[in-house]
């Protein structure tokens, strides 16, 4: 098990955790737009 000092741990978690969450949700929002374009709702068709 890696041992890290608390400051490094907090900074790592903030950057990778917060950054990772943001990136995944941004990617998901792109995919949602893509799906809405490829599969429009029946009224729009």
């Amino acid at each position: 098990m890696q041992s890290m000092d608390n400051v490094s741990f907090a900074v790592t978690m903030a950057i990778t955790g917060a950054g990772g969450t943001f990136l995944v949700m941004w990617a998901t929002s792109i995919i949602v737009r893509f799906l809405m374009k490829i599969f429009p709702a029946e009224e729009q068709q």
Binding site: M1, Q2, M4, N6, F9, A10, T12, M13, A14, T16, G17, A18, G20, T21, F22, V24, M25, W26, A27, T28, S29, I30, I31, V32, R33, L35, M36, F39, P40, A41, E42, E43, Q44
Partner: protein, 384 residues
Amino acid sequence: MLQHILSGLGGLLNGSQYLFSMNGLPNLVMLVVAGVLFWLAIKHDVEPLLLLPIGFGCLLVNLPLSEVMMKDGVLRIFYDAGVTTEIYPLLIFVGIGAMTDFRPLFKNPSIFLLGAAGQFGIFITLALALWLGFTQLESVCIGIIGACDGPTTIFFTSQYAPHLLGAVSVAAYSYMSLVPVIQPPIIRAMLTKKERGIRMTTIKGSVSQITLILFPIIVLVITGLIAPKGLPLMGMVCLGNFMRESKVVERLTHASENEIANVVTLLLGLCIGATMEGHIFLKTTTLLILALGFLAIVFDTVFGLLLGKFYCLVSGGKINPIIGAAGLSAYPMCARVAQTVGQKYDKKNFLLMPAMCANTGGQIGSVIAASIVLGVMQGLGMVP
């Protein structure tokens, strides 16, 4: 003969003697806490589905010389079956996925990102917990209160800091229900009157069923590829939602939302209460956790509002930054708070629909954030 009778009677008085001795004082205090939880649940309707069984578990475990949490005790059996194995929170997630309607999200996908900002409080709280002397694993479990998602908090804490389960769970569920009290002052402090009064138009349009069916699969695959350690969490939410949107397993969907969720909620509440034995619960760490849990919700709201303000700026004043406060996972409470606060400044301002987009983003965002945290912890070698 008389001696035997007196011994027998003495056995009946052991419990009361213990409770009113110095040793029993922590248990007496926790019996009062159980009463407070009942009062909040019954009189004030504060998360009764959880606070009532939690209070009852607390009552059972703090009655003098109680053996309910000892080996082969009834609550120990429930605890080992579902909390230690993490099955209870995962089963609740199936129900949450089955109950969640992602349609509002599809109508304005850019608002989805407010759900990411609403999770940033996790990481600030984690840092604060480290600073206060908690270990790294304990700090992660305390920080996860900021996900504003009870089952996620329980999933983490039961695995990585089970000795904190009682305090963390009570903090998570209590503050979630106090969102209508915590958020409005922060919104007033951070936003100008002009910002609060921005009117947003209702977003129209519908979503195709195939989009709704594909969404949980795609989210699951993306999150699973990046953070496979989070697959149990994300998998169960996506299973519930996939069943809902497929519309071919109504019985399973109905059971997940109702019978399964209700039974597991009851057992989980009892087990959380069972960890609140006076000598374990009444420590300085409990007070610190309660304080940190409050700060987690505050920071979530602050970062959500900051991103809301950014959206307002970039959109040329078309987006009301209040909806940033709805990016937490407390659904649909945060959306309702945004609507209520918005209408205080402009009675004709209907923020509910855009706020529901952000709130739905917060729901899925909390699970994504938790999965990412697990993945990072695995990468750092903190967990196998």
